[in-house]
Each structure stands twice: as C-alpha cells, then as structure tokens.
Symmetry: C2
C-alpha cells in the first residue's frame, strides 16, 4: 500500500519495460513497441533515445519492409557491449558464461568437478579465473552490469548465503559475497537455487515462455524444483521454496540424503533408477548412465524397462500431487528427468489420470526442458540482468563510473 | 509490460490504497496516513475529501489525543452505509452476512442443510431470501457495492462456474450468475473456493495478517487448502490451485471421494478420524463428533488417543510436504483441523521434524485459525470489496446510480 509513483518512477518503469521487450523479445520496431506498450510515438522515441544514449540499445533501419512509406526504426539490444556474468555450480560441473543483453551467450567455459566437498576457496577461484580469462578478450567499450550464480542447494533470500546443499555437502556458505570479492568487479553476485533459476530460464526464454503457472522439475543427483505461480517465482518466506524433491511420495520408502524416507528424490533420482536397473558400481552415475538405461529399455531390456516403470510411477504420483496443489498450465522435465520422463511418459500419464483431479489436469501440458543443461546458467543471467531492467540508466551509469 | 500509469491511474491507485488502509486497519489519523503512504499532507487531504464526498469514509476529531496542538483528523470507514453481501455454501450449512466497509458484520443469517445434492434453485432461493430480509432492515442511505460467495468446491477462474464439488455432488454449476439473477441487485456475484477464501480472510484479518507466505488448511467433510504466496492467493492456471486435500500421502491407502487412494483428505478428514476411533453410525458426523473424539482422548480414552495419533501422523506428513514445497512462514489449521491439530500437535510436530528440511521449518509457525467458522464468509466479503478498493469512486457512482 505504497503511494502512487512519481513522474521519475514512471519514466524508470517505462525505460525498464521497453528494455525488457528488447531483451526478451529481440529486435523490435518502434511502431510495434508503440502498440505493445500502449504509449504514444513521441514517448517511445524519447525512451529509445535515452536507452540509445546510454548504450543499451541501438536503432537501425530494417533490412526489408515490403511496405511503402518510411519504415519504422528497429530497436536492438547492444548484446556485444552490455553483458553479465552467469555462473552455474552443479554437483558434477562448473560453468561460467558471459551473456549479452538480449540473452546472447557470448562466451562460455565449463569444467567437470569431482562430486564432494564444497571448498569455497577453490570454487570461487576457478569461477573467477574463468571470468577473468573472458574479460581479457572483451573490447574496451564493453560493460559488465551484473553477476549471478546458480547453486544446487538452498539459498537464503535475505543474504544470498548457501544454507544447505546436500549434494555439495555444504552449509552456511557466503558464496555470493566471496565470489564477488574474487571477481573484483565492484558488483554484488546474486545467488539462486539452480532449479529455481532453471524455472526462470524456461519461463523467460524456453518452452514455458508466456506461461504464468508452471512447475520445472530438474533431475541431477537430486531432484530440484522451481515454481512460477501467477508469473512470479515462488520463493517462500526465506527463499527455500520449490524443494519438491523432498515431498514424501512413498512413506517408509527408500532412504533419502535429507534424512527422511520415500522422498521424490529418493524414489526417482539417479540412484533410484540405476539401482532398480541393477546398474550399480564404479562409473555408474551421471547423465550417461541414466541415458544408457533409457536406451536399453528402448532396445527391449526387461530390467531397464521395469526400472523405468517403477521410477515413472513415482514420478507420476509426485507430479499428480503438484498438479492438485498448483493447477499449473505446464510441467517441464529437465536434467535427467528429461530422459526419465521420455522413457516413462505413459506411466507418468496414467498416474496423473489416477491421482490428479480432472479439472486440474485437463488443460495441463507436460513438456521437456528446451534449454537443456544451460537452463540454470540462462536463469542466472536473467537474475543478473534484473537490476538493469529495473533501473536501466542508473545501473549503466554506475557500471560506467 | 504495460505502459506506465496516467495521472488518473495514480489518483485511482491512491484512493484505493487509502481506502484499503482504512478498510483493513480501521480508523486512522490523517497524520498516520501521510506517514504510511509516503504522500504529502495536501494530497492525503484531497484524497480523504474525495472519499468523504463519495460517502466511503468520514473524518472526525479524535476522542483524546493527550498532545498539545491541533489534533489530526481521524478517517473512519462508513461501515454502516457501505456494505457487501457475503455468502458461504458449506456441505452442512448456508450462511449469509451483510458486511460493512471495514469488515464489520452488520447482520448475519445461517441455516443448516442436509448433506447432499446441490439443487441450484433451492440454494440460490434460500440465499437470496436471506439477503432480501436483511435489505428490508437497512436504512435508505445504505449502498451495496458488491457480492461474493464461498463454495466448497472448485471454481473456474474464467467465469466463476462451480466446476466440481465432491461434497456438494455438483458439476458445472453457473452458481454466481444464478445467484446474481436471484438477488436482483444488478451486481455480479464473485465466487471462490471456501478454503481459498478462508486463507484470504486469515491473511487479511486473522492470525495471518501481515504474513506474506502462508498455508491455510481447512477441514470439513473434506480437506481444502488456500495458499498465499508472496502476498497473493495462489489460484493456478484455471483457479483450482490449493487442492492440497488430494495430495496423496499414503499410496494405496484409504479410498478417497475423488477416486484416488491415500489422499490427505482420506487419511485425515472427518471420516478417517471417526472410523479410526470406532465411532461410526447414525449421527456420527460433523464438528461435534470430531470434538467428542478429542475430548475423549483428553479424558484418557485409548481408542480416541490412538485415532488422533494416526490421523495426526498423516496430517504431519502432509504439512511437512507442503513446508518443503512452499517454505511458508505460517501454517493455519481451520475447521475440524483446528480440533484435530490441537489434539495431535505433538505428532504433527514430530512428523515435521522427520520429513521437513531444517531451513524450511526453523522459522515456521503453526497456528489455529482465528476467525473460526466465519473465515470463508469473511473471505467472501473481502472478495466482494475488491472492486471498490480497486476503483472506489467509480464503483460507488455505479452503485448509487
């Protein structure tokens, strides 16, 4: 119940809204902006001219109009000039990308890591090292306007501390603060849960674009989730919302890393599938091992088929619960859940028919993630761009200072 | 990504915001409004004077200031003059209230009904009959600005049709439209799920006031839920969000009215408790029967104690799942779940400790509903007031026309 906005607030809002159109939708004509934003032509011209002067967008004649008369100028994001750093700290790999305004991945480094302890110093050292390498290759007129990291764990909203990360074996890690210090860019590093950021990515640029109510399920070693409700990421009171992997679907079932039993993660995760398929032993982990089970099932391997059926049933029950609770428009399967879902879609659907209420599921779409492994990285970039979209000129002025 | 607001939008926003302060917070001085809304004194004066002229608020000298100098005028809602009709259609009873601006229940009628078929004609006849009785008793200068109904069932967001209502045995009922016709006030009747509206009520005026992330669980014949996430009611894609009663907690467990097995509703609802306590037979249903079990357990009845333990364990598991998924600040138990929770709080808490992740539960508060059986009615009134709070002068002008 705050007061109404001032003229300055309105201008900032409009600048951000225009920049968001260009950032998410790509090059767009002034005429189209006028119609989509419901503002008059002179206001659009003033806004684009401010953003152009700040070096955030540029205006160009369209290549081909096919129409008579003076063509409307096209507004493009300055993707090569304005960028953010996005980081992804997964259980098996580290990835860093330099992402230009408009969501263009300009440069990207990746390395595998051994599963295990989260050594803050080593991690931030490796990540900032990659970032420095990339920066050395940029032109002088480029400007970094933000940085954000995706972490497979729970991130406290209040201060960005990684509060728990069963698969990283870490607790209470001031990760963003430390990475920001190592980067030395004078920028804070926002931190988010990888599945939450994956949801944001699929919602912004993936299969869930324009979908206001979606659930993104990400399988890795564990199962994470990100929920977009009414167009907003569900964070919860402290930022730990979306931990659907620890919903108990099978009371008294398989032991889970969290200490409970029968969690979705315990029944559907990588280990559950590989053990059910009798594929245990050295080297039997990761995406390739999961793919091998699905491929074996395709070839008619009964053991692999049974394992997929079992895991697919639990996945379907978990999805049915979420559908009853959220009434989403779309459920998206990412990470290893993409493969598991594709290998067990019939079982998932039949569980949905059994356990989800008809009105909740009749308009539901089940989809696989379209951004693949890049989803958390893309989501981290969106998180990093949030500030510049909220107040374009101020953030640019600070970055250029 | 709409355009920024016009001056007229800002004025409308500010009028609504001021009226919302008075409606939810009660009488408040102009000085306090100035400070809370961050607007200057002359703007506040202009806004209150507009609302006063429309007959929505009145300004009075405070009774006692205890301070020297000219006291700041106090702005009060015109509760006796501006009102809405709120309806609650439960499985066992019908309730109608005339609720004044500020949330004052001015008049209320209630009747029990036999469980069973939803006869649209009889229901809307009874409800509109009560409303007419109440209207005959109002003064000439009163004005009805809205109407809304709480229904125990799923309500389609797009058109307010009651899509399913297992406990009312109804499907595809154009309830709001029909009730609006029978009322003959020229006003549309908004319709919402009773547990959703209960959540809204506890969030607006109950134990969850100022809590932005809460889950309200309502037990009646079935178990309903309402979720406030980030300050907003979670509706889902079609409006069926919050059906937590059909989350499966015990696969292969007790048969549920929805066709599935082991739903929270099947394991924790009225029938589950009464059957576990061996209290089946004629007359063994409703709130009194549930209370009798809790009271017997208090007196040392082993059968009743065991029944409460069993039901409390499933309730705790369900709550743990929701806590992992939502990371709420508060879970509120209403309807018969109030009694069941009070009789089994230790079991609920121990299940939470087992199955909810520590960061998710460490700041969690478990509470009983503070509005009691009136919650859906209070929530329906808030739904009915939503229009007048969004555009006070326009809605008043229409209502007076």
């Amino acid at each position: 119940m705050r007061a109404g906005p001032s003229q300055e607030d309105i201008r900032r809002h409009n600048l951000g809204a225009l920049l968001r159109h260009v950032h998410l939708g790509g090059p767009i004509s002034r005429a189209e902006l006028t119609s989509r934003m419901g503002l008059n032509r002179s206001t659009i011209m003033a806004l684009t001219s401010d953003l152009t002067a700040a070096g955030l967008v540029r205006e160009e004649l369209p290549r081909e109009t096919g129409r008579a008369g003076r063509p409307s100028l096209v507004v493009r994001p300055e993707s090569a000039r304005v960028y953010v750093f996005a980081f992804d700290v997964g259980p098996d790999r580290l990835a860093v990308a330099r992402v230009g305004l408009g969501g263009v991945i300009l440069d990207r480094r990746e390395t595998t890591r051994e599963r295990g302890k989260f050594v803050l110093d080593e991690l931030t050292g490796a990540l900032s090292g990659f970032a420095r390498q990339m920066r050395r290759k940029t032109r002088d007129d480029t400007v970094c306007v933000g940085a954000a990291a995706a972490v497979s764990g729970g991130v406290r909203k209040a201060d960005g501390v990684v509060r728990f990360s069963p698969n990283l074996l870490a607790e209470e890690i001031p990760f963003g603060e430390e990475l920001g210090r190592r980067l030395g860019l004078g920028l804070p590093v926002s931190v988010g849960n990888d599945a939450n950021l994956g949801a944001l990515a699929e919602h912004s640029r993936g299969v869930g674009a324009a979908v206001r109510d979606l659930i993104y399920l990400h399988g890795d070693v564990g199962i994470g989730g990100g929920i977009i409700a009414g167009g907003h990421l569900l964070g919860g009171h402290d930022g730990y919302g979306g931990e659907v992997g620890h919903m108990v679907v099978n009371p008294g079932g398989r032991a889970c890393g969290c200490g409970s039993h029968g969690c979705l993660e315990a029944e559907v995760g990588e280990r559950a599938l590989l053990e059910a398929a009798g594929r245990i032993g050295p080297g039997q982990h990761g995406r390739d091992a999961v793919r091998a089970v699905v491929e074996a099932a395709d070839r008619g391997d009964i053991g692999a088929q049974d394992a997929l059926k079992k895991v697919g049933d639990w996945l379907g029950l978990g999805v049915a619960n979420l559908v009853n609770i959220f009434n989403p428009e779309m459920v998206i399967f990412g990470g290893i859940l993409r493969e598991i879902y594709l290998g067990s879609a019939a079982r998932v659907r039949s569980q949905l028919a059994l356990h989800a209420m008809a009105p909740q599921r009749e308009r539901l779409r089940l989809r696989t993630a379209s951004l693949g492994d890049a989803a958390p990285l893309v989501g981290a970039a969106e998180l990093a761009f949030a500030n510049v979209l909220a107040d374009p000129l101020e953030v640019l002025a600070r970055a250029n200072a």
